[in-house]
């Protein structure tokens, strides 16, 4: 049984594709799935640093494509999770160094040895994006509850459909439930109404995420993080488990709220 190739894309930059890829990769490995994550952002290598593997790079994806090394030599094995590998991006500026056919060739070589191949797509809609989605069996679109992110996600959905690669699933990242409750942010329902996609995960805004990436320890490993729970749930859903969406409740922790809680015995 071959691997499932999952591409994480978004259109808009900065919405959390790399964080999502890193965390889903780690979460899948924790579930015992043999997983390889590929950084397809040629020229802007960052999946390695988010995963804490930046010091272990010897070869990268372009080296493989241009024949300077074998595929196995570019694969970095995670020390904590032996089931998890990373193929880093190059730091070269030449976006044409890799073609969609190259990506398909590489994933085909990996399919027999892995359960999941997760590809971190660059932002945008040009060559890098097309490279990343070419081999995909499934596409996950990451977006934020914010106008420009949703607009770009919609464009991506259109492009994917033209290539018959749909339907994609949605990961709504950085949802701030307090702001939604106050009417100051698009809700998950708003975003799914607008985009017409099924949701595979909703990741709440979480201040644990930046410290996690500061240390190179994906937030999935932090048991106290709601974002971590969300990423672990996404991994479980990808593995075929049915997991209900996390309930996100607004935090009301002002003085009078605490007083009320005291009197109501909660």
């Amino acid at each position: 049984m071959g691997a499932k190739v999952v591409t994480i894309t978004s259109g808009k930059g900065g919405v959390g594709k790399t964080t999502t890829t890193a965390n889903i990769g780690v979460a899948l490995a924790r579930l015992g799935k043999k997983t390889v994550v590929i950084d397809a952002d040629i020229g802007l290598r960052n999946l390695d640093v988010v995963m804490g593997l930046e010091n272990r790079i010897v070869y990268d994806l372009v080296d493989v494509v241009e024949g300077r090394c074998r595929l196995r030599q570019a694969m970095i094995k995670h020390k904590q999770f032996p089931d998890l590998y990373l193929i880093p991006a190059a730091q070269t500026r030449d976006k044409t160094a890799i073609s969609p056919a190259d990506m398909i060739h590489i994933t085909d070589k990996l399919r027999n040895d892995f359960d999941f191949i997760i590809i971190d797509s660059p932002a945008g809609i040009e060559r890098g994006f097309r490279n990343a989605v070419a081999p995909a069996d499934e596409i996950l679109i990451v977006t934020n509850p914010e106008v420009s992110a949703v607009r770009d996600a919609d464009r991506i959905i259109g492009l994917i459909e033209v290539d018959n690669k749909g339907p994609a699933h949605l990961i709504l990242n950085r949802l701030n439930i307090n702001m939604v409750h106050k009417g100051e942010m698009l809700s998950a329902d708003d975003v799914t109404d607008i985009l017409g996609l099924k949701v595979i995960g909703i990741v709440p805004e979480d201040e644990h995420v930046i410290p996690a990436s500061n240390s190179g320890v994906p937030v999935t490993l932090n048991e106290n993080s709601q974002a971590g729970v969300a990423f672990r749930n996404i991994a479980r859903r990808l593995s075929g488990e049915t997991v209900p969406l996390m309930e996100l409740t607004p935090q009301t922790d002002g003085f009078f709220q605490r007083l009320a809680k005291l009197f109501s015995g909660k």
Partner: protein, 146 residues
């Protein structure tokens, strides 16, 4: 008294329409145009051309009250909906449009005069020619002239 505590607890029984709702409205509008690849400027040009063509056949058309817009119920269901009122002869009875695809002739309506003028009849016949087969996309409501 409970109102005081409710406010302290941050309960809001009449939440104002926040920026989140505005965002949703704006997104739906902008995505409708993005998806069919007709920008608002192009819509304006198309509207002006449509009005010019109809005006060749129906000079009574009132360009300022013409409304042409895209209705999109989801990504795949698009409708161009046009409302093209044209003015009636002064003193003629308004004809009720019952929404059907036939000539709406108010022959014995109470309190209204039957419309016997040549122009009126011509209008009604011409109007019928503009009913398109698909979805009645062009609706026309004769308006009362001032």
């Amino acid at each position: 008294m409970t109102g005081f505590f409710d406010r302290m607890l941050g309960k809001n029984n009449n939440p104002p329409k926040g920026s989140g709702a505005t965002a949703k409205d704006r997104l739906q509008m902008v995505l409708t145009h993005d998806r069919i690849k007709v920008s608002p400027e192009k819509m304006k040009e198309m509207k002006a051309e449509i009005i010019a063509i109809i005006a060749k056949y129906v000079p009574e058309i009132d360009p300022d009250s013409v409304d042409i817009a895209i209705e999109q119920s989801d990504r795949y269901q698009n409708k161009l909906v046009a409302e093209i009122p044209f003015t009636k002869e002064r003193g003629a009875a308004p004809v009720e449009n019952d929404g059907n695809d036939d000539l709406d002739l108010n022959i014995s309506g109470e309190g209204t005069e039957p419309n016997l003028s040549m122009e009126g009849d011509t209008e009604l016949i011409v109007a019928d020619e503009f009913d398109m087969d698909n979805d009645e996309t062009i609706k026309h409501r004769p308006t009362e002239s001032d």
